[in-house]
Structure formats: C-alpha cells, structure tokens
C-alpha cells in the first residue's frame, strides 16, 4: 500500500464492525424513536404523526412500574456494592497468588444460562423448597411464610445475577491502588480505618462508579427476575415493555417506554463518560 494511503488503515479495520453497530444498534434506536411517534394499528398500518403526546401519557400511565424499577435497582446497586466491595478488596489485597483463581470463581457461575440460574433460585426460595421447607419443618418459620413472589425474591435474584458486574470493575480499581500509599498513611499515624477512608476508598471511586452503572442499568431494564421470582405486585418496567411489544402489539406505546428508558440510560452514560474520559470506557 502506498505510504500516503496509510491513514486509511485504521478505518479499514474498524469499518466492518462499526457499520454493523451502526446498522443494528444506532439505526434501530432511531427507528424505535420514530415508531413511538406513529399512530395506527397492525391491521391498518402505521403512519408518522409526530404524536409527542404519547410520552407524558404512557409515562404517567406506567409511573408505578417505573418507580418500582427505579427503587428495586437502587436497592440492588446498594446490595451488590455492600457484598462486592469487601470481596473485591479481599481479592485485590489479600489474594496473593490466588488472585486470578478467585476472580475466576466469581465469574464461573455465570457460565450457566441466566434463565437456569434464576430458575434455580426459584427452587431455592420455593415455599416448601430446600431452604424454607427445612426451616418450616424445624418450626423456625411459620408455615405461611414465603419469599417467592415477593419483592425480596426479585431483589435477591437481581443482586445475585448482577454481582459480578460490580465485583470486576471494583477489583480493577482496587488492584491499581498502591499498598505503599496505605502504608505511608498508617506510618503517619492514621488508623487503619482512617487510612482506608482517606486513601483506599477515594482511589477506588472510579470502580464504584463503573460497577454501580453496570449494575443499576441492567437491573432497571430487567424482566426475567420479576417474571420468574416475582408476582403481579412486583411488575417492573421491562415486563411492561415486553408485553406491550410482543403480546399486545402496542408498538408506539411500547417504543415510547423503551425510548424513555434509553434516554435515561444515555444521560447516565454521558455523565459517566465525562467523568472518566471516553477512552477509559472500553479499557
């Protein structure tokens, strides 16, 4: 290739994959936005009427499910952070030569299908299942006590399924913290707790942000956990979008809900990207 054509090389590398993402990620988003502004039915066909009114209408109509999804995801993010931070900290600082093996142990369960894992939780939490059955037979729990079909079941399922998304970014951030800095702090008479709060924790904040984002976003859109472990009282916005699209064929309404969720997600990503820099996103 002649030398003055060299600048073209990176574009040749990235065009096939880039086009695929444009055609099947970006364009579908725009199509979904356009569908949300159309009116009509499957039988008569749809036409674009710029019906912006559908947004306040649907958001208002499904506000309880939106609020519930938001609330569940916040709890899930807090729980995964509470479980994931000590885990990532232990692996990063106490893992020694077992670091990689411990990380593998964190990821390994996720080589089982998502659906099967969640169905397994249904079995574990079942009214007379492995755990509750034994506790009820032992007289520790009331016979009427149940976990399945409650918000507790949905939140614990979500927490389980998204825990690695929290642990891995936290580990990456904590792994970069130089133990010598902590040592210097304790040498300067900071207590161990103080050294953690003033040195380790602030340095691991990028991991906390990344982990929270990667846990919060899939939780808020999830519909598997509520579908399998929940009940009608735990319905999340993901389930509504799925039903409107696939069962009711209510495309404009479903697309409006989907695009609202996407806009919220994009806003969060942009704030995050500004905070860490775009090149760090895919690192």
């Amino acid at each position: 290739m002649p030398r003055h054509w060299r600048w073209l090389v990176p574009y040749l590398f990235l065009i096939p994959g880039g086009l695929w993402l444009l055609a099947f990620f970006v364009v579908p988003m725009l199509v979904m936005a356009s569908v949300s502004l159309q009116e009509g039915s499957l039988g008569t066909g749809y036409s674009l009427t710029w019906n912006f009114g559908i947004y306040p209408e649907t958001i208002q109509h499904w506000a309880p499910q939106f609020a519930r999804s938001l609330w569940y995801s916040l709890v899930v993010t807090a729980l995964t952070l509470a479980i994931g931070y000590p885990m990532a900290y232990t692996i990063a600082f106490r893992g020694g030569r077992y670091k990689n093996m411990l990380l593998l142990l964190v990821i390994l369960p996720f080589f089982t299908a998502y659906i099967i894992r969640t169905l397994s939780w249904k079995l574990i939490l079942a009214d007379n299942g492995v755990v509750l059955g034994a506790l009820k037979d032992g007289g520790i729990l009331d016979a009427g006590f149940r976990l399945i079909a409650t918000p507790v079941a949905v939140i614990s399922g979500l927490t389980y399924n998204f825990l690695p998304f929290m642990v891995l970014p936290l580990y990456v951030a904590l792994e970069k913290v130089d133990p010598k800095l902590v040592e210097a702090a304790t040498d300067l008479y900071a207590s161990r707790l103080h050294a953690f709060l003033r040195v380790t924790l602030p340095l691991s904040m990028p991991g906390v942000f990344a982990g929270s984002l990667l846990t919060f976003i899939p939780s808020i859109g999830d519909f598997i956990n509520s579908e399998i472990l929940g009940s009608r009282d735990t319905t999340m916005i993901g389930q509504i979008i799925q039903r409107l699209f696939l069962n009711n064929n209510a495309y404009p309404e479903a697309a409006a809900l989907g695009f609202t969720l996407m806009a919220a997600v994009l806003a969060m990503i942009f704030v995050y990207a500004r905070a860490v820099g775009a090149d760090e996103l895919t690192r």
Binding site: M87, R94, L105, T112, S120, G221, A255, L261
Partner: protein, 287 residues
Amino acid sequence: MTAPAIAISGAMPERRRSTGARLSALILPVFTGLAVVYLFLPIAVMIAFSFNDPAGRQNITWQGFTLGNYVDVWGRPDVTGPMVTSLIVAVAATLISTVLGTLIGMALTRYDFRGRNGLNLLIFVPMATPEIIMGASLLSLFVTVGIQRGLLTIVIAHVMFNISYVVVTVRARISGFNRSLEEAAMDLGADEWQTFRRVTFPLIFPGILAAALLAFALSIDDYVITLFVAGRDITFPLWVFGVSRLGVPPEVNVLGTLIFVIALLFIGVQIWAQRRQIMAAPTRLDR
C-alpha cells in the same frame, strides 16, 4: 504476687490487640468465602437436581438419585432441537463478532485516528444498554423494514451485542503488546503479511481466544434479545423459559450442567494456552 500481675497486665493489651487484628484479618476472607458459596449455590442446586428422579413434571423436591436423565436427554428432540439451534447461532455469531471485534480492537490499540472518542462511545453504549431496549429496537427495525424474523435475525442481533465485548477483551490483551517484536521481524526481512502471521497473530491469539469464548458464552445464554428477534425459531433459553411455567424437566438441568462442564474445560484450555504463551515468549525473543 505483684510482679506477675504487672507482667500479665502488661501483656494483656498486647495479646488482645493481636486477637483483634487476627479477627479482623479473618473477617474479610471468611466473608469472601461465603460470598463465593452464595455465587455457587444455584449452580450446586442445578447440578444436584440433574440427578433427581422426579415423580411428576415438577422437578422441585428431591425424590432419589438417578443417572437416567443423562441418558434420556438424547432421546428428546424437543430438548435437543433448541440446543442445536442455539449452538448454530452461537458458533456463527462468535465467528463473525470475533473477526469484526478483533479488527476494531487492533485499530484502537495500534493506530491514532480521527473519531476515536465516537468509536469508544459506540463500543461502550451497547454494553451499558439494557437488553430489553436492544431487543425492542431491533424488533422495531425488523417490523418497519419488513424483515422476516428467524435464524438470520437472531445471528444479526447476537453479533451486534457480542462485538463490544470482543473489542474490550482483545484490547485489554493487546495493550501490553511489544511493538519492537514486529519491528525486529521487519528488520530481519519479513514482509507485513509474514510479520502478522508469524509474530503478531501468535502473540495476540490468547486474547482473541478469550474474546471468542466470551462471545460464545454470551450468545448461548441470551434470552431477552433473542425473544424479540426469534420469530418462530426457538433457542435453548427460549425453550427453557417456555416450559418453566409447566415445570422444568430434569433434562434442562442435565444440559445446564453439561454446558457448565464444557465451559470449565474451555477455560482450562485457555489457561493452558496462556501459560504456554508466557513460557514461549522469552524463547522467541532469544532466537
């Protein structure tokens, strides 16, 4: 009487602190151990119930040990059919996304070009988008354009969500790559293609393999996006979800367990390849 008392009171705080420190040193590893047990709990239940001999359709309570499910599963086309569909989709999606993603990963690590930030964003956003939105928007596209949903649309969707993960994995492995090895090869008279085939590719291969494994795992596991783009074709996760309302037959646990074991084997191979790479690298430098 006083002397030993003083000795004890002098020693006490010292010893108390050491037990305190030992306790706090124990808390974190014990917590992490429990968390790992928690992560494996559903897997253990899945494996255990693959050996269960249920009385009816519901595989919920323990009835007795049997190996029969591992034999029966092969005679049930309703179980193996969707599995075969899943494998076809996963292999096709893995091959395409690994090639496309590796190319982007190389562009990002080896070249400077305009539009880097935009590309980084285009790679990251799909990873952070809830699956339901990707599924819904693809459905919007296919319905609007009038594309028949089926095997082809499933593969298209799977390649789309795999690319980003391939890019990130490959990029992580190439970023530590030593460019002087390529320069050495060129200095010794190798042309660009020879350099790539004999030096670059073998060195980045473990990264590509890791990316391909991840893509395969993501693809064979996907339910949400597939649900939206599948049409009449049924993949294994779709089938499992479909039957789960009536009661999950133990054959599902059998296939889940087998996939898990195969994943373990693949990871073993990958670790082995990586070790070999590390051991082989210095010798290649020596030559």
